[in-house]
Assembly symmetry: C2
């Protein structure tokens, strides 16, 4: 395990980069920043100021301050001396490859993490001399509040790099999810993108407006997903039989054209993987116990949605 | 507009049917029930008793009581005299067609709603003499808490039926979403099914376990969806430029294999539909205002998730 991260550098300070800066500052760290775009510094500082009240309510480390952010005019000065460099440049492969190579030259020891939403670390690190310290650390907007960060190593990434990055992201209040296979889109973006593409089809084909799609998510599936994800949610849809019964009951629906996405064959092996996984997640709790917890959560969440989204009283459409 | 609904009947009293019974009872209505399965009544009453504490915290109508549920041995006795019949039988087309035809004979005036997750009302009502009063009223589990109900009329459904059902579902605390086109899977299930099928692929291909998929949803995308849905969430991903800038920036990603679902062509027409829809939803609020609201919501939601899901402290995987 490498030494603890004390100094961080953010390379690119747009929505994602400034979100990283805010999270690192909130954890009481020093942050060096670089972004060649016009007004990047003033925009980033404004974004961090806007984020600070919510971050304060969530809890700041002692000594945390936006004043510990320093912008640099040169990339080399930004990353020199950093223990971890977080790259959040535009999502273009060659641009990121060149930028990561420059960082590699300017700082020979830091962990170098790319915020890419779906590009592969093996490809992004091709121009680096020390690719073993490079990985993907993919966050979710707003970075200063959402806990998830997907960690993806490339073919040449050292396992110590993943371990150090895991420890670091935990230390700034995140929940690192190491991705087992290097696959484009990783895990969360593949799920989001599937829903997003289906949503675009619905709007494209005039089945629904954007408002109607959002209403269907907010008042239906979205409420459950924030507590249980998709598998454990369906584990509770099958009654006492749980996921195994649910797959038996709704398995045939996988053949129906309920989305433009074709489903995998529901083999015995896949059924076992899914049902065993859900039983492990349930950790001995009965369906009834899980339901009671879900219901308690939903009651409070519904009150939250009403508090923060009063305009949504009437749904769109023919109402 | 037909007369207000005073007496309801639930046909089928499994997870969904008993959830409907609980919601109607909570709204202070009388509920007649029928279900030919063994022990259906005792299971349904146990489910309603389990739901009642959460429903009480959410708010019950005066006079609401589980004792206002009466089970009948014969379908005819159950539906006779009801103003609205809610059918929640197993998801098999011919079974539902026959059952709806029997209800049609036994009660000539009630609104008849099917809870089907995705079958088409035009097909479900083929054996009815009075299909004009039949529609789909598709709820989400747990029915007694989740507000969304999708309303789908068939080719022979009268517009008054949709109007009456809309008024009724609103009166029991729901948010009816009329679906513009009769399409299999409707809106929410197409979105859920797209995400579900992609999730099954990820588990099938050993990219992730069910736990890892759920963690990616709970700590990433799921947190945002419960407030904003998918379109307004992405409206905030593009910085001050909103959805139009986001489509410009991430549009090319629609061509990437980030899911097994192929995306629609991002034509100018589709861009206009999506961006105009988001601007309408934003209703004059700036991106910064929407961000501040989202952040306040997320701070409270994160505390809720921690309260209800303490086991989730450590994410699964290599940690």
């Amino acid at each position: 395990m490498a030494k603890p991260v004390e100094r961080t550098a953010v390379v690119g300070a747009g929505v994602i980069g400034s979100g990283w800066a805010a999270r690192f500052l909130g954890a009481g760290l020093d942050v060096a920043a670089w972004d060649p775009a016009p007004n990047a510094e003033s925009k980033a500082r404004a974004a961090i100021d806007a984020a600070w009240p919510a971050m304060s309510r969530r809890g700041l480390a002692s000594g945390a301050s936006p004043s510990r952010l320093i912008f640099h005019a040169r990339l080399e000065d930004c990353v020199a001396g950093a223990d971890l460099v977080q790259e959040s440049a535009p999502e273009r492969e060659t641009l990121k490859q060149d930028l990561l190579a420059d960082v590699d030259v300017a700082n020979p020891t830091a962990i170098i993490a790319s915020s890419t939403s779906g590009l592969l670390p093996t490809l992004l690190s091709t121009k680096m001399s020390r690719p073993e310290r490079m990985l993907v650390g993919h966050p979710f907007n707003p970075v200063y509040l959402l806990p998830l960060v997907e960690l993806v190593g490339g073919e040449r990434t050292a396992s110590e790099t993943i371990d150090s990055a895991t420890a670091f992201y935990k230390s700034v209040g995140m929940r690192p999810l190491p991705v087992r296979k290097e696959i484009v889109g990783f895990i969360a973006d593949r799920l989001m993108e599937a829903l997003w593409r289906e949503a675009l089809w619905l709007v494209n084909d005039d089945v629904a407006t954007t408002e109607e799609v959002d209403a269907a998510v907010v008042y239906g599936c979205g409420l459950r997903w924030s507590l249980m994800g998709t598998f454990l949610t369906f584990h509770l849809a099958g009654g006492e039989g749980g996921m195994r019964h649910m797959l038996h009951q709704f398995g045939p629906a996988l053949k129906l054209p309920w989305t433009r996405l074709v489903a995998p064959e529901l083999t015995d092996e896949l059924i076992d993987k899914v049902a065993d996984g859900c039983e492990k997640q349930a950790a001995g709790r009965s369906i009834r116990e899980l339901e009671a917890r879900r219901d308690g959560f939903l009651v409070e969440l519904l009150a939250l949605v009403q508090k923060y989204w009063p305009e949504a009283e009437g749904l769109p459409g023919r109402l």
